[in-house]
């Protein structure tokens, strides 16, 4: 603390970071939209982005809050179907100009909010329970969502989700720019919350719930808050997914999907946003890069999960988080400087 290191004053840091992030978004969008990048590659980048949002959102509940929800795909499904149904209902494909972007933004926000509401609905009762029980109850919730999405039409008497055959012809609103913007916004918002009194309250629950409560933290409130945030961003990711694929089936949001997201978080290091980002990227890109590998994907995922827990339970990055400013400061200080990496998390 008392060293003579050069530091960047706080508001200045944020200004620098904001400029850097905006430049990053513009540059990468221009690059991706140019002829240098193939459509196939762009698609992979979009999936990576969606998976990053899923991973960083699950990381809120798993890494920061210290719970193990096993129904994250359920929130994603809620968001995906909300977005899909909304986009079809307003017929976003036919809209033009400002109205189109308004519809897209509305779909994303609405998906997040509906998933968030489900987060509150399931979180309020579930978070009264601890550890394993929370895991089970969220697992049960995820399964129920799937059953409901498959069978709800027969109860309603009209076609809403189109059951097992799937919701089709959803306007394909998802672009690289949309995804990137959502990734950056999600990461920034999560980061801002976590580096505040609210975020510290969430962390304190993970560390020691009884001590947190005796420090005056409303633990139930903050648990639900973290859970809801987690669900919100999963919903946004779901909407992007719907707009990317153009069709949805309830079976894609099963237990398997929840575990896939969990592997990303665990591999990166529970509690590290940068870890989630990196492992979501690697685990999405790798099966694409190595086509032969894709058959073994789930086997490798499960092995990774087990080996990780036995040999490096903190994940690759532990709770380390990325800081642009820290790197800038390292560059300013005459020590050996670390290489600059891309990333959206900053301080």
């Amino acid at each position: 603390m008392k060293t003579n290191r050069k530091t960047i004053p706080m508001p200045m840091r944020y200004l620098i970071n904001t400029v850097l992030i905006v430049l990053f978004i513009l540059a990468s969008t221009l690059f991706v939209n140019s002829d240098a990048v193939s459509g196939y590659f762009t698609k992979i980048l979009m999936v990576i982005g969606i998976n990053i949002i899923l991973a960083v959102s699950l990381n809120i509940a798993t890494g920061y809050l210290g719970q193990l929800p096993l129904g994250h795909a359920g929130f994603m499904a809620v968001g995906a179907y909300t977005g899909g149904i909304f986009l079809k209902a307003v017929d976003a494909a036919k809209a033009t100009g400002g109205t189109y972007y308004l519809y897209v933004a509305a779909a994303l926000v609405l998906s997040g909010i509906v998933a968030g509401i489900f987060g509150i609905l399931i979180g309020v009762p579930a978070l009264r329970l601890k550890g394993d029980y929370l895991a089970i109850i969220t697992l049960g919730f995820g399964e129920i969502i799937r059953v409901v999405l498959t069978n709800i039409d027969s109860v309603l008497g009209f076609d809403l989700t189109y059951g097992a055959s799937g919701l089709k012809r959803i306007p394909k609103i998802t672009t690289f720019f949309n995804v990137l913007l959502c990734v950056v916004l999600s990461c920034v918002v999560i980061h801002m919350v976590m580096k505040s009194r609210h975020g510290r309250a969430i962390l304190s629950i993970r560390e020691n719930e009884i001590a947190a409560e005796s420090c005056g933290i409303r633990t139930t409130y903050y648990k639900v808050m973290a859970f809801t945030m987690s669900a919100f961003f999963a919903g946004v990711a779901g909407c992007l997914y719907a707009g990317y694929l153009g069709s949805l089936q309830p079976s894609s949001f099963g237990f398997m999907k929840s575990i896939e997201i969990l592997v990303m978080v665990v591999l990166g290091g529970m509690g590290s946003m940068l870890g989630s980002i990196l492992s979501a990227t690697v685990l999405t890109a790798l099966p694409e890069a190595l086509r032969a590998f894709s058959d073994y994907r789930m086997v490798v995922y499960s092995l990774v999960l087990v080996l990780m827990m036995i040999f490096k339970p903190t994940g690759l990055l532990g709770q380390y988080d990325f800081s642009l400013s820290r790197i800038l400061e390292k560059l300013m200080n005459p020590k050996k400087s670390a290489g600059k990496k891309e990333g959206a998390s900053h301080e």
Partner: protein
Amino acid sequence: MSEQKTKLVEVPGGIIPERDVSQPPVLEVRHLGIDFGGLTAVDDFDFVIGKDEIGGLIGPNGAGKTTVFNLLTNVYQPTRGHILLGGVDTRGKKTYEVNKLGIARTFQNIRLFKTLTVLDNVLIGMHNGMGYNLGSSVLRLPAYWKQEKEAKQEALSLLGIFDMQDLAEVHAGNLPYGAQRRLEIVRALATKPKILLLDEPAAGMNPSETAELMENIRRIRDRFGIAVILIEHDMNLVMNICEGIAVLNYGRIIAKGTPEEIRKNPVVIEAYLGKKGGTANAEG
């Protein structure tokens, strides 16, 4: 401290025998009791403590001392009796609400936020001292900057009580044992309590550390004008620092009085040493 006080009269239930009754007590406990299943863990616990007073709670292992702390902080809900905190009945309140009303505690088996830094531990204690909302933190509004800055300064000044400012960026779990106990006290103080409950603060400390701790507890009392109740097995510490002591055995108070009175009390000696008796510098 007590020589400054004017009216020195015995109050029923008070553990400070000659406490100042010109001011209302900070904490008043009446006939408190709790049963676990059919077992009565604490019964008929009467206790009064005022501002600026240091009280001790002693007794053999398993006498129910920590249970009393858990009752005072509403970790357990009492089966019988009342807890009045500054005149407010805390019945049915949540632990965090009791903390807001002014009770902070430390734990016998240290409960720090281990993987967070020392500074963050203290800042979590100051959670309710800051009031900015979620919007302010997401948008980094001026309220965020102002309150975070002030909180950080205050946290460092609190750490200064134990000369721990330099450890601010260390992870709490990596602190040596004694420092962890001290950090728990700082974290508790950060919640701006009226009463500080210390559960075996000197456990695992060597005599010189204990002496320093004793001095610091007095300083904390003087600086913040708060009441302190401590559970301790180190009789030297208890006898030196406490103005009044309550002795608990099998969940009931068997004696109350000044350190001098407790030292001589045959009932206490018997509780500690069994029927045959012996010297009074017993340790449970």
